[in-house]
Structures are given as structure tokens and as C-alpha cells.
Amino acid sequence: MREREDEWTGLMRSAISGDDAAYHRLLKAITPVLRAAARRGLARAGQPVDQSEDIVQDILLAVHLKRQTWDTSAAFAPWLFAIARNKLIDALRRRGKRIFVNIDDFAETLPGETPEPTASPSEVSAQLQALPARQREVLQSIAVDSASIKDTAAKFSMTEGAVRVALHRGLASLTAKLRDR
């Protein structure tokens, strides 16, 4: 447990100093842990666990957009779990349940299995449709077509800077839409 969390802290430090691959690895590494905790929280609240993926995506977006609140000299896991707990409570509250989420839900976690593909599109996908066209196209190009920033810029005849701006704005407004839905 300890080693895993030290590894996360190291990856997050590299990510913040500009290592995109480390960031990708970190997000990959925390996802199964978040998924297992989200499932447990849902199960305890008597909610169907197949909604866990929406919560996981909510947490990942918050982690991404609030990175600047992490103190690089501190451990990463307590910060991550604070965000995750907050998002899980939010999600359960939205579903009309008021329950307490135990911090141990996150600390002692075996990775949850990968979700079965569900028929209903995720909440993120649904909100994606409501974004301005340019932001949606850029997000889809990078997410779905796995194009790089450079390829996306070429595809839409934009500068790379403009792609980066559209990408970040798209993620930020996606998060705002999820929050205010």
C-alpha cells in the first residue's frame, strides 16, 4: 500500500514538471482503485454499481482540474482520496442518498475489475454533446480517434496552441456541466 502510494507521489511530481507519460501512467494506476471504492460506496448506499464509471470519470476530471491545489511536497494519496470522497458523496447525494463515506474505502483497496461495456452512454459523453462545436471536435479527436495535439491541429487547420486552449476549455466546461446538471 505504502509503496504504491509513494509511486503515485513520484509520478505526480514528474507529471507536474511536464512528463505527460508519467501523468498518463498515474491516471491509469489510480483508476482501478477509484473504481473499486466507487462500487463499494454505491453498493453500501443500495445503488446499482454499474454507475461507478460516471463517478470515476467525475473524480478523474476533478483531479485534473484541481492539480494546482496539491502541495508537491506532500503525499499524493491523501489529496486524491479527499477529492474522491467528496465526489462520491456528491454523486450519492445527487441520487438522493445521504450516507457517510468511509476513508478506508479508498485506503485498503484491491483494484476493481474493468467495467463491462454498458449500453447507456456515460454522463461525460452526454454532456460532451452540449459543448461548443470546436471544443467537442477537439476532445473527440484526442479521446476517440487518439490523435495527438499536432495531428488534431493539422486536421482542423488550427495552431497547436489553439488546440490546447480548446482542449482545456472543453474539459473545464464539461466538468462545469457535470457539476451543475
Binding site: 491516471l27 470519470q57 478523474l60 494546482q68 477529492i83 467495467p115 461525460v124
Partner: protein
């Protein structure tokens, strides 16, 4: 969009760097300050005897109290903008202005006074104080909340209330140069009431604005 695709997208945005919250808060307050100052100079203005008032230690103490409130509330606001932070271990910062006020009241008690205690407490400007401080706070509060939106407070209403204290502290610092009531008893009563109003408004606004 499945989770792997989302992760890929987030990683592509790794180059983006948000402003540090301290800087965001400072810029937002600087943008809001002219509005508050405009209200002050249009409606109130500095008291005419300010040069001689500065020799009165109780006049100067008003600024010590309000500035201590603003400074400690700024420190607590920045602390609370982190998701894992709570008031525990940090809340005592907010006792500093209260401590200065208590010391000032005891100081005044020990000095011979020409006016009775209740007269000093009620003063002449209580209504002006109760309207001017909230009015001048409001632009600052909106600015503070805007800056603090960069953060991720665990309890948005609490963070909003502290943002209210912060803006009331700054507004009261300016207002204190207008007000001719210098007794710490007046400050403890009316400034505190005005600050409580702003903190409540901050809690209500923060509860919505600071959710992440």
C-alpha cells in the same frame, strides 16, 4: 467516452498550468478593490480630522483589528482551498483579531473616560457602519470567491464564510478611516455585526460558487 479515452484526453492536457490560488485571489481582489473604493469615496470619504485622529491609539487600533482579520482570513482561505484541509489547527488564526480587540477593550477600561460606556458602545455611526461595511465588502467578496474557485475546498460554505471575513476585514479597514467612533467597544459591537452579515452572505454564496 470511456474512461481510457478520458484518461488519454486528460494526459494530453498535462501542459496546462492553472494560476496558483494565492495569485488568483490577489488578482481578483485587486480587480474588485476599485469598486469598493468608489463606494467609499462617493458616499463616505475619510474623516476630516484624520491627521489628529492618528495620534489617538484607539483610532490606530481599529486598523490593527481589521487588518489582522483580513490577513488571518486570507491565510485560512488559502489553506482551506485544498481538498484535504480542514479548519482544525488553522482556525485559531481567526482568534488573532479577536485577541487584539479584547486587549484594546481592557486597555480602554483602565483609562479614565469622560463618556459613559454605553454611549461609547452605541456611538454615532452604528447604522453607517452596518451598511457601509457590507456594501463595500460585496465587490471584494465576489472577487474573493472568483479567485478561490481555483481551489477545491472540502466544505464550500465554510470556505465562503471565511472569504466573507476576508472581504469584511478589508472593507472595514477602509471604513475605519471614515468612522469617528474609535472606542473598541463600538468596534467589537458594530464591526463584528457587520462582519457576521458578510460572513453569512459569503457562506451562502460560497456554498454554490466554491463547489467543484
Amino acid at each position: 467516452m470511456d474512461t481510457d479515452q478520458l484518461i488519454r484526453t486528460l494526459a494530453a492536457d498535462n501542459a496546462y498550468r492553472a494560476r496558483p490560488i494565492g495569485l488568483a485571489l490577489m488578482l481578483a481582489l485587486l480587480a474588485a478593490a476599485p469598486v469598493s473604493l468608489l463606494i467609499f469615496f462617493a458616499e463616505l470619504g475619510v474623516r476630516p480630522d484624520v491627521m489628529s485622529a492618528m495620534h489617538n491609539p484607539f483610532f490606530d487600533l481599529k486598523f490593527a483589528v481589521t487588518l489582522a482579520l483580513a490577513a488571518s482570513a486570507i491565510a485560512v482561505s488559502l489553506h482551506l482551498s485544498r481538498p484535504e484541509a480542514s479548519l482544525r489547527g488553522f482556525g485559531w488564526w481567526l482568534l488573532i483579531p479577536a485577541g487584539i480587540l479584547v486587549a484594546a477593550i481592557s486597555g480602554e477600561m483602565m483609562m479614565p473616560q469622560r463618556t459613559p460606556m454605553m454611549t461609547r458602545l452605541i456611538g454615532k455611526n452604528s447604522m453607517a457602519c452596518m451598511t457601509a461595511i457590507p456594501a463595500m465588502s460585496l465587490p471584494l467578496l465576489v472577487g474573493a470567491l472568483y479567485g478561490l474557485r481555483q481551489g477545491a475546498p472540502a466544505r464550500p460554505a465554510v470556505a465562503g464564510a471565511i472569504a466573507g471575513l476576508l472581504s469584511a476585514g478589508l472593507a472595514a479597514t477602509v471604513y475605519a478611516s471614515h468612522c469617528t467612533d474609535d472606542s473598541p467597544l463600538f468596534v467589537a459591537t458594530w464591526y463584528t455585526l457587520a462582519t457576521a452579515i458578510v460572513a453569512s452572505v459569503g457562506a451562502l454564496m460560497g456554498n454554490r460558487a466554491l463547489r467543484y
